[in-house]
Symmetry: C4
Subunit: 231 residues, 4 copies
């Protein structure tokens, strides 16, 4: 069942480690099969070295486990909220990558300080508000998804492919699990650059809208001319 997607999600999870985004089991990647409406996700707390494609867990969008002998990631409910709410999303990644987590812990969104950022995120990488006590004590993982959705209101998920959850860490997404990893790696690098940019120039502000438009749209707009896509 969904064998191809399982391999892809397994590869994406391994790439999180290879790219230095996770220590031990601190991260997870999932993929969404649009046709069946099912999600494939990493099992909870299993070492990356021991993972195999067959260990991937299949759940439906309501959270029912459909296949797999292991318990899914404890963050599964958060992934499911995002798949239900964000259109065009086929993969999600959550990590505690160092620099993105630093911004999350500081409770600050990452301003658009340069074209590296503008090439992937159409504006600030937002940071959620803190969860309220009732949300933490209630369905915590669902509420984490809900506060992400709340924060993304007015933003187009495919144009802002990641977010920081306050006090916690980053989530990123993309058209599939691989692109979600890619955006997680980009977000980590943007976070590192932005941290030191603030230190070096305390008055620095986000780049002009015109430069943001130029860079984002030369890669993502309908007149995109970066890469080989429309050659």
């Amino acid at each position: 069942m969904l064998e191809e997607l399982k391999v892809q999600v397994w590869e994406a999870n391994l790439e999180l480690q290879k790219r230095g985004l996770v220590l031990y089991t601190w991260g997870n990647a999932s993929g969404f099969d649009k046709e069946s409406g099912l999600v494939v996700i990493k099992p909870s707390g299993v070492e990356y070295e021991k993972l195999e494609p067959k260990d991937m867990v299949v759940v439906d969008l309501a959270g029912n486990q459909v296949e797999g002998g292991l318990r899914p990631s404890s963050d599964t409910p958060t992934h499911l909220v995002l798949y239900r709410e964000f259109s065009g999303i086929g993969g999600i990644v959550h990590t505690h990558s160092t620099y993105a987590t630093i911004w999350s812990q500081a409770g600050r969104g990452i301003p658009t300080f340069g074209t590296t950022h503008a090439d992937y995120f159409y504006g600030e990488v937002p940071c959620t508000r803190k969860l309220k006590s009732a949300e933490v004590e209630g369905s915590y993982e669902d509420e984490t998804g809900n506060v992400i959705v709340e924060t993304m209101k007015g933003r187009v998920p495919v144009h802002v492919p990641g977010i920081l959850v306050a006090n916690h860490g980053p989530f990123s997404w993309g058209k599939d699990a691989h692109e979600a990893v890619y955006h997680g790696v980009v977000l980590e690098e943007l976070a590192k650059m932005a941290l030191h940019t603030c230190a070096l120039n305390k008055e620095i502000e986000a780049i002009d809208q015109v430069l943001l438009d130029k860079h984002f749209l030369r890669k993502h707009g309908k007149n995109a001319y970066y890469g080989q896509g429309t050659l």
Copy 2:
């Protein structure tokens, strides 16, 4: 004698190097055999590359060398204080890992800035007071253990599996030598994140108690639901 434990302690020492926690010989791991009441520890000042399981030294809790042709780590008396005082501890690690040492040198405990921290430490990673002159000039390594015990008063060692010794560096512990290494690696990452979190938001405070409870207890409480343990 204790051949299995020697292999485990040897592996734990090597992992300190593999994980980037030690330069040269700047660290040591030990393990405790509850049944015999004996401790296996790394010999003093031997390069990791040359260590073999048979080089591990066996001492009793009073510090008498029971086996081994090499002198035990100069930090052995500190380890012994902790094994005598902390219940449920089967492994101890001491390193001078970069970021944990920075906090030790700065004389500051690491606040609970995020859920990464809360997943492993139930509150602040404390920093001891400075040792008094008489303590340094007396039984220095014993006194290092004593000041750790003093600082941990009111904390449960298995819930706060590491500490910073002021002007010195971190000690971590766990149910065995491997878990002590694991907690040393986690502590180093928390220390790095926390350093930059402070720089990015000078007013940042520890997370709410409710979030600390949620994260620590979902992994460690009796209703833990992270990982595969209770599936």
Copy 3:
């Protein structure tokens, strides 16, 4: 056609990745053949792992594609401006390397804080002004080249072999593509050192002119005595 130069440019592109200057496809190197007046450059958005010498694209100084089945780097017009305007330049590199990009984002040139800097750059690594809206909306990549040329006015390109484009990142150059990579690596290290030098001593100023002269000229002047060149 230009087979030797293609291999050299291909190698230079791979070295960008090997030296840690690029994430994914975030960089490009080109080489100039003085005799034919042609430029060899990396194709746009192709993964480094998949690049082969035959994928390199040949363009003339006016930007006409002379050979190659792939579209050239989107930064090609910027490279061409520099080849047309700077004499003695045979290779150009553009990256988003972490620390050089941080200075670019902060909009600050890198002062000559030490002899490491003075060994390669005869004075500050300048940072351009921000582009105006009309420049961004017009021929953006040409204007990026133009603002580099404007900023370098009064400086000798072979003595200041790199620059920071505000809000964007570094460009470096040299007598060929390999030397351009070399200067990109040096610039990244200077940027890292300078960032922390500022943090450690907020009053720090550039080194004296006499020390700058000494170091730059012992490597680059007509009386140079570093290396084996004139032995």
Copy 4:
């Protein structure tokens, strides 16, 4: 001639690269043969990858080249001053390692912030004054050695096995070339830790003399009990 020492110096130079202390050719190690009064040193500007033991250059303490087809490191005169002035020194290393260079550029000595430092340096790692114009324009490399000697006045070289040259970078030494490398690696780590210690606690001061004595002397005094040396 001095074949064994050549191999040792060659190994020490390679280790500088392996340990991450040098970029390209930015460093050199030398060794001193007490019996013959000759110094073996790396040739100037040769890539580490291409170095062989036979490329090492032999000079006497007055700077006359005694053997070797290549020109010695441009820093040779500085090494020679130190061999002439510091007793007990059998190896010297100069690098532009990142964090030690940052302190050099900032013109600040590294305070004894912790026991890691106290284990190797008996007090502050000093930073020289800036060279005067006449010194830079005169016998620059000799004067670099002279200002090191001037700064070390009142300190015992074998107890303070390294120094920062203002605006430039670190020199370290030891009983042979390998120990000089070792001290260079230690100095780099101390510099990194100290940089962030200052950032985390702006009021931090050096550790107490009694703790410095304890740590330095338990490794280096006549009653040393660290390691296996006196077992």
